[in-house]
Every structure is written in C-alpha cells, then in structure tokens.
Amino acid sequence: MNFLTLAFLQAAPHADPQVGAGRIVGGWEYVWAGYGISLAALVLYSLSLWFRRPRSTEPLSRTQP
C-alpha cells in the first residue's frame, strides 16, 4: 500500500514550488476599489481636520480691551 501511494505521488505532476496566481483568479477590481476607498477616507478626513483646525488666538488678544 505504501509502495503504491509512493508510486502514485511520484507519477503525479508536481505542484510548482512557487506560489501561483491562487485559486481565485483576477479580482483586481476589488483590490483597486478597496485601496481607492482607503485613500479617499484618509484624504477627506485630513481635509476635514484642516478646515476645522483651531484658529490662532494671537489676533484676538490684540483686540482685548
């Protein structure tokens, strides 16, 4: 039995030792969509922080009575 198994394994085509494209082929559109959303979220939030940033109080102190 062991001999038969060994012979079968030797006869079977070997898998490429290098990692191939995977069982799921393609799917780059999902990858680009994901990275696009990430970039948009980070950039838009950075802009929102910029627009909401506290203004300097220096001009205010000059107007104090």
Binding site: Y30, A33, I37, P54, R55, P59
Partner: protein
C-alpha cells in the same frame, strides 16, 4: 504643538502608508488560495486594528474623565471616538469588498461582521450624543458612560471568530503566515499607526479649542467675535 509633530508625524505616516501600499500591491506575492484579492489585507487589517486601538483609548479616557473630571480626558475621548469611527467604517467597508470574491457576498450576519456593525452603530450613537447635548459637563459625563458601554462590544468583536462558527477566519500569527506577507502587513500597520496618531493629535487640538471656547466668559467671546470679524479670520 511643535513643528515636528505638526508636520513630521503626518509626513512619516503618509510616506510609510504609501510605500506599504506599493509593497502590498506590487511587490508581495499573491496568496496561495485567494490570489491577488488577498492584497486587500494590507489596507483592511491595519484599519480595523486602528479602530480597536482608538476604542480602547476612548474607553480609558472615558473612565479617566469619570474619575477626575478633567476636560483633557473628555477631549481625548471625543478625538479617539471620531478617529476610531473613521478607521472602523472604512475597515468594515474593505472587509465587505473582500468578502464578495472570497465568500460570494458583500455582507452576511456572521458573528464577526455583526459585532463589527454593532461597534460602528455604538460609536455613531456616541458621536451623535456629543453633538446634541449642549451642556459641556452633561455631555462629557453622559458620553463617558456611553463610551464605557460601547467598549463592551470590543472583546466580542475580537473573540467572535473563536467563540462562534464564523465565515471570517480566526486571527493569524506570524507563525501561520508566510514572512513575505507578514512584513508588508507590519509595515502598513506601523504606517497607519503614525497616521492615526497624527489624526488624534489634530482632532484633540480641535476638541480642546472648543472646550476652551465653551468655558470662556461670554464677554470674552463677544470680544473675540469682534476681533475675528475685524481681522478677517472668521470662518
């Protein structure tokens, strides 16, 4: 805020994240099972990790506020909730996008996905509460309580894949993942951590500024408004 933090931290985060994305998209090998779709991991996993870190920070600062009543703790709680919500929302969106080619659906009421959705709803409620309560002391106290309650979901999010049968895989470790995939994941995680720190620093400054405005006497504020109008710096 020092120049090193104001400019250096966002720059460090941006450079690390962009180089990490390049590594994950074009240099790292595709996964044996998922192929190129697995490249979403380098954006999805760090985003959700940052959301969990922010939730923990919100829990700690909410607890601190209830003990010492300092406005700095309240400001940090506000900043960490908002930044965590940002990472949570887009992290979950990326998870849904990854789900379509691997599970066949964008969304399913699986334990991990459901607990993550509860987390988002809880922190949206937290932010809504902060928006609609005018009294600063009541707002800080009530939101601290809500922050502590919302944090109860975080261990459920983390352990859901171990406690129940889930479509989502259990947490990987460097022992179970090829180093060629682990290294870009770590790089991206550190990059997004720097971005998260920068966001927290800037958002904390906004929260502190608003608290100062709220606690200033009315006559000072009216003078400030006149000053802002006259100097042309009013938003």
């Amino acid at each position: 805020m020092s120049k090193a933090i104001r400019i250096g931290l966002p720059l460090l985060g941006a450079v690390t994240v962009l180089s990490g994305w390049y590594w994950g998209l074009f240099v790292a090998p595709p996964d044996r099972e998922m192929g190129d779709v697995q490249r979403l991991m380098y954006a999805h996993v760090p985003a959700v990790w940052m959301a969990l870190i922010c939730s923990t920070l919100n829990f700690g600062s909410s607890l601190t506020y209830l003990f010492n009543g300092k406005s700095s703790a309240d400001a940090l709680a506000e900043a960490s909730a908002e930044v965590g919500l940002l990472f949570g929302v887009y992290g979950v969106m990326l998870g849904a996008i990854w789900g379509k080619p691997t599970w066949g659906v964008y969304w399913t009421w699986d334990p991990r996905l459901t607990s993550a959705a509860v987390m988002l709803v809880a922190y949206m409620g937290y932010m809504a509460l902060r928006k609609f309560v005018d009294d600063p002391e009541k707002r800080a106290r009530w939101s601290a309580i809500v922050g502590i309650l919302a944090f109860a979901d975080i261990p459920i999010v983390w352990f859901s894949v171990r406690w129940w049968k889930s479509l989502h895989q259990i947490q990987s470790s460097p022992r179970t993942v090829d180093p060629e995939l682990v290294l870009p994941l770590r790089w991206n995680s550190f990059g997004l951590f720097f971005v998260m720190l920068a966001f927290l620093v800037f958002r904390y400054a906004i929260a502190r500024s608003r608290i100062r405005e709220e606690s200033a006497p009315p006559e000072v504020l009216s003078h400030q408004r006149v000053g802002l109008a006259s100097t042309g710096t009013h938003r």
